[in-house]
Symmetry: C2
Subunit: 419 residues, 2 copies
Amino acid sequence: MAKLKGNAVIGQSGGPTCVINRSLVAAVEELKKAHQITGIYGARHGVEGILAEDFIDLGRQSNAALARLENTPAAALGSSRMKPKPDDCARIFNVFRRYDVRYFFYIGGGDSAQTANIINELARSEDYEFRTFHIPKTIDNDLLGSDHTPGYGSAARFVASAFLGDDLDNRSLKGIKIDVVMGRHAGFLTAASVLGKLDEDAGPHLVYCPERTFSFDQFIADVEGVYRRLGRCVVAVSEGVATGPKDEDVVVREAGEVMLADGVRTELPKDAHGHPQLSGTGILADYLVYRVRKALTPTHGKLRLRGDTFGYLQRSFPGVVSEVDAKEATEVGRLAAKFALTSDVDGSVIIKRKPGARYAVEITYLPLSKVALGERQMPASFINKAGNNVTQKFIDYAKPLIGTLPKAGLAQSKLIRKR
Amino acid sequence: MAKLKGNAVIGQSGGPTCVINRSLVAAVEELKKAHQITGIYGARHGVEGILAEDFIDLGRQSNAALARLENTPAAALGSSRMKPKPDDCARIFNVFRRYDVRYFFYIGGGDSAQTANIINELARSEDYEFRTFHIPKTIDNDLLGSDHTPGYGSAARFVASAFLGDDLDNRSLKGIKIDVVMGRHAGFLTAASVLGKLDEDAGPHLVYCPERTFSFDQFIADVEGVYRRLGRCVVAVSEGVATGPKDEDVVVREAGEVMLADGVRTELPKDAHGHPQLSGTGILADYLVYRVRKALTPTHGKLRLRGDTFGYLQRSFPGVVSEVDAKEATEVGRLAAKFALTSDVDGSVIIKRKPGARYAVEITYLPLSKVALGERQMPASFINKAGNNVTQKFIDYAKPLIGTLPKAGLAQSKLIRKR
C-alpha cells in the first residue's frame, strides 16, 4: 500500500503537565524522519487554533529550540478547554481538507480523545484518507485503558515531595496542617501524598479521596485521634471530596455557602465547563481549617492550624520531573507518530504494565472510542476500609511512577540523661 | 590561654528552611574535631528543649545519619516560636551551668540572635566562662548586617521556579493569575518571582512588596493594563502588603472583615506573636481575586481568574535547593563553631559579598547585639518607581543566590501562511 502523503497537525488540550512537551517533541522528531509528511503544523491552543487556522511550523524549529522545549513544563503550543460541538468538528475537518492535513495528533485527556474520534469519523464518512492519534496526558491519571497516564508521575512526584517537606516542617513546629491536592473525581494525585513518608509517624496521617463520600463527623474524629496520639496531624484532601454522590455536593460549594458573606460572593466561581471552580482558590482548605478549629478548640484550647492549597504549582513546576514519566511521555509521542505512519490504523496510545516484580511497560493503542468513553477512578483496593487513607496496594502501584525522591532522614533519637 | 572545656548545646528556632540542617551538621562536624568539647547536645525545639532539659546526643549520630540529615529540609531538632522572657533566660542559664554547657549555638533569625545575646550577657555578668554564636537562617532575608541569609537562596529558587512554571501554565490557558508569596515585612522572597522570566512577555508582570504602601486603585489599574496588552496577567503579591504603615493595616485583615460572614469567623486567626496569621490561609489571594473580578468584569466580561498561595511549600520543599545557598549554610555552621573554638569571641555569623563582577563572599561575624537589633527590608533601589515591580539592581543582587534554573524555552514563532 502506498504511504499516505500530506501534512500533519499536532495540538495540545486540557490542563498542562510537566512532560506534555516531551510527547510533542518526540512526535515531531518522528514525523520529521518520514518522507510522506510534507509539513508539521502546530495548532495554537488546540482546536481553537485549528478553527482560526493559527498554525506554527514545527518542522522548521531548530534542534536547540526543540531540546529546550522538551524540558519545558506546560503546553508550549497553548492549550484549550474547548469541547468542539459537531458543527465545530465539521469546520475543523474542512480546515484539514483545505490544508491537505492527512495526519492529526491530539495530546490531551479523555475529551481530546473524543474530539479526535469525532473528526476521524467525519473523515471516514467522507472517504478522506486520514490518520488520527490521541496522545494521552493528564495529571489526574483518569484515562480509561491505561495502567497510568503521562503527566501523572511528575505531578505525583511533586505532591509526594511537598508532603515529605511539609511533614518535616510540621514536626519542627507542631500543629494541624490540611493540604488540598488537585483531583475532581479521581484521587490518584491526592493518594500520592503518602509516597515520601519517612517513617511510621510521618504524615500525611489522613488521606481523603473523592472516590469515597466525605463525612465531616468522621473527618473531625480522625483528625482529633491523630492529634491526641502525636500532638500534630498532617492531612491530604482532594479538592473534589464530596458529601454526596454528585458534583453539586462537592464540599467547596458548602464552603462557599457557609463562609462567604451575602452580597460579597453570591455564588462560587465556575470553570469553563460550568462546574464549581476547585483550583485557584484557597476556600476549601480554609473551610476545613475553620471546621476543625470550631470542633476541636473547646476541648483542646488554642490550636496551631494551617491550610494550604497546592494549586497550579503541582502541574507546572519545572525541575520536579519523574524520570520514568519523562521517558514514557517521550515514548507515547514517538509511538503515536510511528503507529500512524507505519500501520494503517487510528487510535489512542495506552500504557500497559507488564506483570512481574520489576517495573516494565508495554506501549500500544486502543480504538479512540474506548479511551474517550469515560473517566477512571481509584480502584476500591487502593483506599482503606475507613476511607481515610490509602493501602499498600496503591503504594506498590504508584511508587515506581514517581522516581526516587531526594534522600532525607531524621536525627537518631539518642537522649541525654537528665541531671 | 587554656581552651575552654565543656559541653556544647545547639538549637534551632523560627520558621524552618531547606538548608538549616546543613548549618547544624556542619557545626556538629566541626565540634566533633575539638578535644575541649566533651559532649554535643541538640536541644529539641530550641529554647523549649533547653528549659525542659530535652537534649539528644548529636556527638553520637552515625555518619550516615548526619549525611541524611544534611539533605533534609525543616529543623531536624524541632523548632520553636518562643521568645524567652528574662526569667526564662535565667532558667536557661541555670540549665547550662548544671550541664556544664560552655558553648551555645543558636540557629535562627533576629529573635534567636537576641535570645543568644541575653543568655550570653547573663553568663558574662556571672563570670561564667561561655561562648555563644548565633548562626543565621531565614527565608525572609531580613537579618541585619548580612548581604543575604542562608535559607533565602533556596526559597527564592522555589519561588522563581514556581513563577517560571506558572507563567508557562498561564500562557497555555490565558487568564489573570495572582500568587501570594511569604514575607511579612520584607519583599525579598516575593521579588524573587522575577528571576526565572523567559522573555519580555513573561510573568510575573506585576510584583507588590510590603516595603511600598499597597493601593487597590493602582493594583486594579495595573492588572487591567497588562491584561489589555497581553490578554493575560501573572501577579506576585507579598502576604505582608499593607494599605497603611502598620501591621494592623495588612490587606489580609481587610479581607477578613469584608469577605467572611459574621459569626462564622469573627476575627482573623493570629500567629504565636499575636500578628494576623498570613500563611496557611488562602484568604489574601482569594480576596485579591475577588476585588479584581468585581472591578474588571463590568468592562471585560467573564474572566478566567485564579489565586494561589504558595504557603509552606516554599520553605520546606525537598530537592529544590540552591547550590550556593547549600554551600553557604554549611559554611556559616562550620565557621560559627570554628570562631567559638579558636577565637575568644561571641557573635553572629554574617555573609559579606565581595566587590567585583564574579560572585564571591566573605563569612565573618558581628557582635550579637548588632544582628538582634531589628529587621532589614528591601532597599528603595530594588523596587521600581511605580511600586509594582523590581529593578535590574535587585535582579543583579539576587540572581547569583538561587543557582541555575532548569532550562526552558518556547517554540519559535514560525507561522504557517493561511490558505
